[in-house]
């Protein structure tokens, strides 16, 4: 993820170093496209269904729910430390 900011080139790959602040454990950002890809699983079929709702639709909803703990982790661990927070 160092490509997000040229100033991070040559530094530890686990963080994004910018003067807007330094992001810790930037590899976590890759979990977002992974979750997005999972929302596409099974979308070509209307079966199986639960209460008349296709399983892929329910699982996409559950994956959105998974964003809550993932975002919580980003906020607690990855967010740049700034003295004015």
């Amino acid at each position: 993820m160092s490509g997000l900011n040229p100033s991070s080139q040559g530094e530890a790959s686990s963080s994004i170093n910018g003067h807007f602040g330094r992001m810790q454990q930037a590899w976590v950002l890759w979990l977002y496209p992974l979750l997005w890809l999972l929302t596409l699983v099974g979308v070509r079929s209307a079966e199986p269904q639960i209460f008349g709702i296709p399983a892929w639709y329910l699982s996409a909803g559950l994956l959105i729910l998974l964003l809550v703990p993932l975002n919580f982790y980003v906020v607690r661990v990855c967010w740049p430390r700034m003295s004015n927070d």
Partner: protein, 501 residues
């Protein structure tokens, strides 16, 4: 008659409360631009989250999404709902950085960021003009949908235009009187009503229709849907459009400036996916299930109001209030932000007129009135269905996405590169939307997708060939916040960093 009186009572009381908030805010808010346009940069987590939610969700969500589900199946949930949930990470990657810069450089409008970061008034003007061009029709959609929604509840006997006037006048009342302070407080109320209303509608409708859906609606319950709209290319095209457009909506962009502190972004990022889920999950299903009750509608946009008519009248009035909340909260924010673009960017910057803060706030109110009248004129003769107009409007916002990302993350971006990339992306998008360019060149993609790709390439190439604005790069990447930034040392404890040059 009793049912109609009850509906009138609930919806009327709701509209009166909104107007009351406007009057209260007028007496309790400052008249300077930061107070009028940015609520004094003092919004906490709850209020900013709800105003952002209510601002993002509009007639497009409440009426357009069920209508799209009715016609094209459940794909709109992936196309818009899932993408809107993933946008929460952009609060961190884009919104937080914009807030830092706006706080330090005292930006009020979105275009001030573009103009200042690249030292280019022309780039600021490009953003302002595109925002005005693409936002005005979107405001009119809210008025159209508001009038039609009221008509569905209050009875078909009432003509369309008086209802459009009621919606426009109530929005104007609290925007003109209270500015952003009134807008964020009404948004907070509207956000709560929106969530409760959609939840109530879903429970009531699912209870009677949900289990019957499987056999008759098979094509609507899977991709690419009965019309083939949600092919892989169609889906990814739409997801990219939403991802790029939402942070650049002027009314969303400006809300990033309103946060009181960084904690607001953190809270918002965590709760946002949940809020999006409880709105989009039911909205799409209600539209698809609507086929079981109204299989042959002339206009798909009618489905949500018609489904509401199947509910008990008191509940229907509550949900109607939620629909009105969705569209009015978007329209008020759009009016306020576009007026700030005109007063701050066009008159103040480009015509070099020095105005006192009070004059600026007064001028802002006049501009709100003028834009509302223009939008109302469009609403009297609607140019198309909601999703089509919204998709057109979203592309106007998305076309400057590469410039925004480059401005926040790529030091090497030069003024010429940003300007060239922005102009090429905008020209291609407008060219395709206006049918001035061969449609075959863009394949099956939405126009803005190839336009942004070409614009990004131009931005990179021109930036590499021209020098970046050294003074601005230093100001943004070595600013006071950087000098005070802290990092975790090897032992895991916080240490203050100084002079990060």
């Amino acid at each position: 008659m009793t049912d109609t009186a009850l509906s009138f009572g609930i919806v009327g009381a709701y509209l009166l409360v909104l107007a009351g908030i406007g009057i209260w805010s007028y007496r309790h808010t400052g008249q300077d631009p930061v107070s009028y346009f940015l609520a004094g940069r003092g919004l906490g987590s709850l209020v900013l989250t709800l105003t952002l939610l209510a601002t993002l969700l509009s007639a497009f969500t409440f009426i357009g999404v069920p209508a799209d589900g009715y016609t094209h199946g459940l794909g709109i949930f992936l196309g818009v709902g899932v993408t809107d949930a993933f946008i929460s990470v952009l609060f961190f990657l884009l919104g937080y950085r914009l807030w830092l810069a706006a706080k330090h450089f005292q930006f009020i409008t979105p275009s001030e960021f573009f103009g200042h970061r690249f030292g280019s008034p022309l780039l600021a003007l490009l953003y302002s003009l595109s925002a005005l061009l693409f936002t005005a029709p979107y405001i009119s959609i809210q008025i159209i949908a508001g009038a039609r929604t009221l008509s569905a509840v209050l009875g078909e006997g009432i003509p369309y235009w008086p209802l459009a006037i009621i919606v426009a006048v109530v929005i104007l009342a609290y925007v003109l009187l209270g500015g952003s302070q009134a807008v964020v407080w009404t948004d907070t109320l509207q956000g709560i009503i929106l969530i409760l209303g959609m939840g109530a509608a879903f429970v009531a409708i699912a209870g009677s229709l949900g289990r019957d859906a499987s056999a008759e609606l098979e094509a609507w319950l899977r991709l690419p849907g009965p019309t083939g709209r949600w092919s892989w290319q169609g889906l990814i095209s739409y997801q990219l459009l939403i991802l790029m457009a939402v942070p650049l909506f002027p009314q969303i962009f400006q809300r990033f400036y309103m946060a009181k502190n960084a904690q607001v972004f953190k809270t918002m990022m965590v709760v946002w996916p949940l809020l999006i889920l409880v709105i989009f999950f039911p909205a799409t299903l209600i539209g698809v299930w609507g086929r079981l009750v109204f299989p042959t509608l002339e206009s798909a946009d009618q489905i949500m109001p018609l489904m509401l008519q199947t509910l008990p009248s008191g509940l229907a009035a509550l949900v109607i209030s939620a629909a009105l909340a969705a569209l009015m909260s978007t329209a008020d924010s759009q009016l306020l932000t576009t007026s700030s673009l005109v007063t701050r960017d066009l008159i103040y910057t480009h015509f070099n007129r020095q105005l006192s803060p009070l004059q600026e706030a007064r001028l802002g109110r006049l501009v709100v009135l003028a834009i509302a009248l223009a939008s109302f004129a469009i609403a009297l003769n609607p140019p198309g269905v909601i999703v089509e107009i919204a998709t057109w409007s979203f592309q106007g916002s998305a076309m400057l996405f590469p410039v925004l990302v480059a401005g926040l993350y790529w030091k090497r971006t030069s003024r010429a590169g940003a300007l060239a990339g922005g102009l090429v992306s905008s020209a291609l998008t407008l060219g395709w939307l206006a049918n001035l360019l061969p449609q075959a060149w863009r394949g099956d993609w939405l126009p803005v997708i190839p336009a942004v790709v070409v614009g990004t390439v131009v931005l990179i190439v021109v930036s590499l060939l021209t020098p970046p604005p050294a003074e601005r790069v230093a100001a943004y990447y070595e600013g006071p916040w950087a000098e005070e930034a802290q990092e975790l040392d090897e032992t895991g404890s916080l240490t203050t960093r100084k002079n990060l040059t």
